[in-house]
């Protein structure tokens, strides 16, 4: 039965995904929930909770308020806390009971926004999707609402269109809604890109999709940034280690790098708003160089692409004899590891992705299985499995198991053993 798990864990859900993506941006996230969501999030999904203060709360929804539709309490509690704590924005996050009762979050958001004069965003999570969905929609909103139109010589532009009445406030993001004129976006971007290359030495990039759920709080992200900064100017990282001011400037990038599935929706928005192309792939050991090449290529051509596709179709000889190797995990990181293995050892591993993904960045030999039953059957005769240690419980005894702990699966249990992906050698 697909919805049954006898021994495996479950991935971080969408609610925590929203919280994780917005954690460092100075907002106030309110989960409309009776109890438990905040504890689950801060215990198992949020390694920054002890040392870095961030405003993530639950509403403490009661049975009576849910049944009677007492939204006033929810609104008043948020308004009171917002006036006290003065967040940059407010995020409302849905859970199963408000989903069932049909709480009007959009109306509530408007009321709160009016009373606080603070931007309010609503995330229609259910607590039943994975963090990829939740963090993805959060970063998508960041890209849509918080990134300012680009500033060139005092003129704010979005897709080359000048925007009027812009002040350097968060609310500036809203003014873009008034500027819906169409233009040949890619053409305009290409011109801007060319001008940019001619006048500057380094290509500007954003890194999209960085959360501790995929990259923990070890040295991986620092190593990725260190590598990329040798070749590129990093404008911002969505959303670890960048200030809200950095994020606001993301529209200035020539190209975006999507390092996990979580960053994909934001890349689409930035492409839509600024015609910025994107490259999908995680700079892991043995594959980072390809990513750098693809970033340069995309910056010049304006064409988006998944970097790992070029490896599988590059004509390199891949030994089918070494098959039987499986990587289980998030789509982009796993496919990047697969590409690194193909490049270095000519091994064609199979990726099993138990999380939401998009056809646009799924390559060959990727299985979209999410249940314990399916995954167990798929790896029954595997020679080698690379996955979070909890997956070992469903592997055959003779399978060579290589642990790659994933915070979004096993939480903090193996945190100390999560490797730096820029240094990690799979097999």
């Amino acid at each position: 039965m697909k919805q049954v798990s006898v021994t495996l864990s479950t991935y971080t859900a969408d609610v925590s995904g929203v919280c994780s993506a917005l954690y460092e941006l100075g907002g106030m996230v309110v989960i409309h929930d009776p109890s438990g969501c905040n504890s689950t999030y801060n215990t198992h999904d949020e390694p920054r909770w002890y040392d870095m203060d961030s405003l993530v709360f639950i509403s403490g929804l009661s049975q009576m308020d849910a049944i009677m539709g007492n939204d006033d309490k929810f609104i008043n509690d948020i308004v009171r806390a917002a006036k006290e704590l003065k967040p940059c924005f407010i995020a409302l996050v849905r859970t199963p009971i408000p989903l069932m009762t049909g709480t009007d979050f959009e109306g509530i958001a408007r009321v709160i926004e009016k009373q606080t004069q603070i931007p309010v965003f609503y995330f229609p999570t259910s607590g039943m999707q994975s963090y990829v969905s939740g963090a993805g929609m959060a970063l998508e909103t960041v890209a849509r609402e918080l990134v300012l139109p680009t500033n060139a010589n005092g003129h704010f532009k979005e897709n080359g269109i000048e925007i009027e009445n812009v002040s350097n406030e968060l609310s500036v993001a809203y003014t873009k809604k008034k500027n819906q004129q169409k233009l040949n976006q890619s053409e305009q971007k290409q011109i801007e890109n060319t001008e940019s290359k001619q006048s500057n030495s380094k290509i500007k990039i954003n890194i999209l999709g960085a959360t501790p759920l995929d990259f923990s709080v070890n040295s991986t992200l620092d190593s990725i940034k260190e590598f990329l900064s040798k070749h590129f100017e990093i404008i911002s990282t969505f959303a670890m280690g960048s200030s809200i001011e950095d994020i606001q400037k993301a529209g200035e990038a020539d190209v975006n790098l999507v390092i996990s599935s979580v960053g994909f929706p934001a890349a689409k928005v930035l492409e839509e708003r600024f015609s910025t192309p994107y490259v999908i792939g995680t700079p892991v050991k043995g594959f980072a160089g390809i990513i750098a090449e693809k970033l340069i290529d995309a910056a010049w051509t304006g064409k988006s692409q998944a970097a790992y596709f070029s490896v599988t179709s590059s004509g390199k000889s891949i030994s089918r004899a070494t098959n039987g190797i499986y990587i289980i995990g998030e789509s982009v990181i796993s496919q990047s590891l697969k590409a690194a293995m193909a490049l270095k050892q000519g091994i064609d591993a199979t990726v099993i992705c138990p999380l939401e993904t998009e056809p646009e960045y799924i390559g060959e030999n990727v299985l979209l299985f999410s249940s314990e039953e399916e995954i167990k059957a798929a790896i029954a005769e595997a020679k080698t499995v690379i996955a979070d240690p909890i997956y070992k419980t469903i592997c055959a005894d003779e399978t060579n198991f290589i642990a790659l702990p994933h915070e979004a699966f096993s939480g903090r249990i193996y945190r100390k053993e999560i490797p730096n992906l820029m240094e990690w050698v799979t097999i």
Binding site: M1, Q3, V4, S5, V6, T7, S9, T10, Y11, T12, A13, D14, V15, S16, V30, P34, S35, G36, C37, N38, S39, T40, N42, T43, H44, W49, Y50, D53, S54, L55, V56, F57, I58, S59, G60, L61, S62, Q63, M64, A66, D77, I78, R80, A81, L85, T95, P96, I97, L99, M100, S126, G127, M128, Q129, S130, T393, S410, G411, R412, I413
Partner: protein, 457 residues
Amino acid sequence: MLKMLHGKAKDEQWNNQIKEKLSPSLQEEIPFQDAAWPLPFVPGLEYNSPAHGTWNIVHMGMLLPGSHQIYVCGANCNRGVILTAAEMNAGDRFSFVEIKEEDLFNGQMEDLVIEGVSDILHKLPKKPSVVLLFTVCVHHFMGCDLAYIYDTLRSRFPEQCFVDCYMDPIMQKEGLTPDQKLRNALYKPLPMREKNLKQINIIGNDFPTREETELKTIAKAAGYTVKDITECEGYEEYLSMSESFLNIACYPLAKYGAEQLSKRLGMKFLYLPFSFHYDEINAQLKSLVKEMPGAVMPDTSLLRKRCERILQETKELVGDTKITIDATVVPRLLGLTRLLISHGFSVERIFTDAFSAEEKEDYLWLKENAPNLKVCATIHPNMRVYPRNPQEKILAIGQKAAYFSGTEHFVNMVEGGGLHGYDGICELCQKIQQAYQTKKDTKDLVVRKGLGCESCI
């Protein structure tokens, strides 16, 4: 009956008087003299601190030998409980059925639960003696036919004992908490058996009661066996708790379950919470001796003198060091605070979001005698940015007190820690002394779930 009614009316009158005088505060910290009864703070958004040593329903469920926990809920709810089990290295006693969005609206929830649980039981290498089946808020809201589910499962698996358990926090503000319900459910598998008049139970604790407590020494000296789920070696020993003639609840959240068990199996019942009042302890011991023929009342004046001596020693050691205490360390927070203040300790601040109904007398005493004692919330949103870098040495009693006070000197204990009676007061003093003299790694310790359980992080 008249007395009960008048008593209740008197309580309500008293509560109304207090409410008229004081209103809950909007701020996160207030002097005790301004603290309203029983809720000093206006409810609002809730913050959750990183101190997680208190036990949750997963930890408690694992106390039942031979049990297997199955949760039926969405991924977000599932994750907290799954990883609780994994962190305590008990993942092999835990499974789940995941609810998807469509399951909320397709009218097939009963089938999902029945088939999901059946599938898990078929796949387990060995079928458990007891299945603790947890349903959640959404089952309650959709009017799921739980009776049908349990009837079907019991007929399919007659060898297994299915216990209805609940993870439904949406109900906890108007009724029993999931914690209270589980402390009741854990004893449902106990059958009716002939009573052993030399055996008693301690019900609903998470920690074994110290052997040195008067409660245990009196019972054992008189030849009684004391059974406790925390000390049962296996399922058979657990079942033998059915033979006890007396149930004792020491933890307030266990009282309901112990009462239900006593009614169901015709056992006597005593509620003997961990008190910090000598007179109340004496009364508890008297009631215990009265229920156990052959038991002898100890010389409480000697026990009291010992307590006083250790309290004095502790005060001399810690001097005027500022002390903070939180409500997770002992159920009777105000009683402990009163005891320490009345013995000259410099208790500066207590961390709690509500006062226990059992502590009205201590509340009034503190109002009069410690008006400037600070009462600080733990879930108030402002506590997220509460300053946690003291400029002086703070001695904390409890994990949350340690976290919020930013100190490495703290008593690492939750839920009373198995302490009781005079011995409990003395032992707590020893822990305070130790905390004063040695530092602990607060960040490493308080974030671990379920203090006392194995922790794999």
